[in-house]
Structures are given as C-alpha cells and as structure tokens.
Symmetry: C2
Subunit: 99 residues, 2 copies
C-alpha cells in the first residue's frame, strides 16, 4: 500500500485554514478515484519542543499507479489546484511506500 | 485515537540505519504497552522535487494518556534511548490527534 503524505506548516489564520480545509478541500480530496482512506492529524506537541508542522493529511491508495492516476484525474487536479490556492506556501507533499 | 509521528531525515548510511531500525529499534518500539499499531513508511519522492524526509514511523494509541504512559514506561524509555543513540540527529517527533 502507498500514500500521499501532505505536511502543513502552521497557517497564519488557523480558523480560515480549517474552514477551507474541512468545507472545501477535504470534500474535493475525497472525490479522488481509488482513494482508500484519508487520515487527517493535527500535531499537538513535540517531545523536544515545538512541532515543526501543524497538520498532516495521509491519502492511502492500493498501488503507486493508482495514486498517480488519482493525482492526474480531473478530481485530483481540482484538489491540487485548490490546495495550492489556500496552502501553497504551507504544504510539503511526499509519496510514501508503507512497509 | 492519537499517534506519535517520527519523521527521519535521510541517514548518511542507509544500510546501517535500516539494519539497526529493523533488527533493534522496531522490536523495542513494538514492546511499548498500549501500542495499537506501528506503521512505517519510506518516502519515495515528492511532487515538488526531493522529499524533505526519508522515513516516517507512526505509533498509534487509543488515548493521549495511553501514549504518554507508554513513553514513560521502561519499554518506552528503552526505545527512546535506542533511537537517540542511532538517529538522534535525524529524527523529529510529534504528538498527533487523529480527526
């Protein structure tokens, strides 16, 4: 199984970010074909001090091909365009293979 | 549900890191009381270029209290001591609440 991991730095306006994420972005992401699970986590602290990130979204797919197909689908492009519009300077996305 | 998220930067010696992680560290981490799941992912790329991290370990617990108890248990302390010995300069750990 594979996943797309999106790490978000703390937004300047947390309330506006959360509203956009929950009402607009998450519904767009959930329309991506082949998506098996979307897990959203908020970081609450770090053993060593401050967490480097604010939030993480993990989008699970069966295979790397399925993940890449989803990203290049119309739904994936819409979700990608949306995320860049409200969090382009906050996000770091990575592809991951689960052991 | 909550999790401890450990992000690892790319180690200078990947083979030595993987051997230590798989043969010594993962078995120590899996002994932590209350651990529900350990999910290990390796980053294979990034849409924007290079992934900022090499690997991620996610340790799931039912509650924040269970996670903190596990970390302060003898098994948690042993796992923490071990990780600092071989990856102290690579790791960033964060506590997370799953939505």
């Amino acid at each position: 199984m594979v996943k797309l991991v999106a790490l978000y730095k703390r937004p300047p306006d947390v309330a506006a970010f959360e509203k956009h994420y929950q009402e607009i972005h998450a519904p767009l992401a959930e329309k991506m074909p082949g998506l098996k699970k979307l897990e959203v986590s908020h970081f609450t602290g770090s053993p060593g001090g401050e967490p480097k990130f604010y939030m993480m979204a993990e989008l699970y797919f069966d295979t790397k091909d399925a993940m890449l197909s989803a990203l290049s689908s119309p739904e994936g492009k819409a979700a990608g365009k949306d995320v860049m519009s409200f969090a382009g300077d906050l996000i770091h996305m990575m592809f991951a293979e689960i052991s």
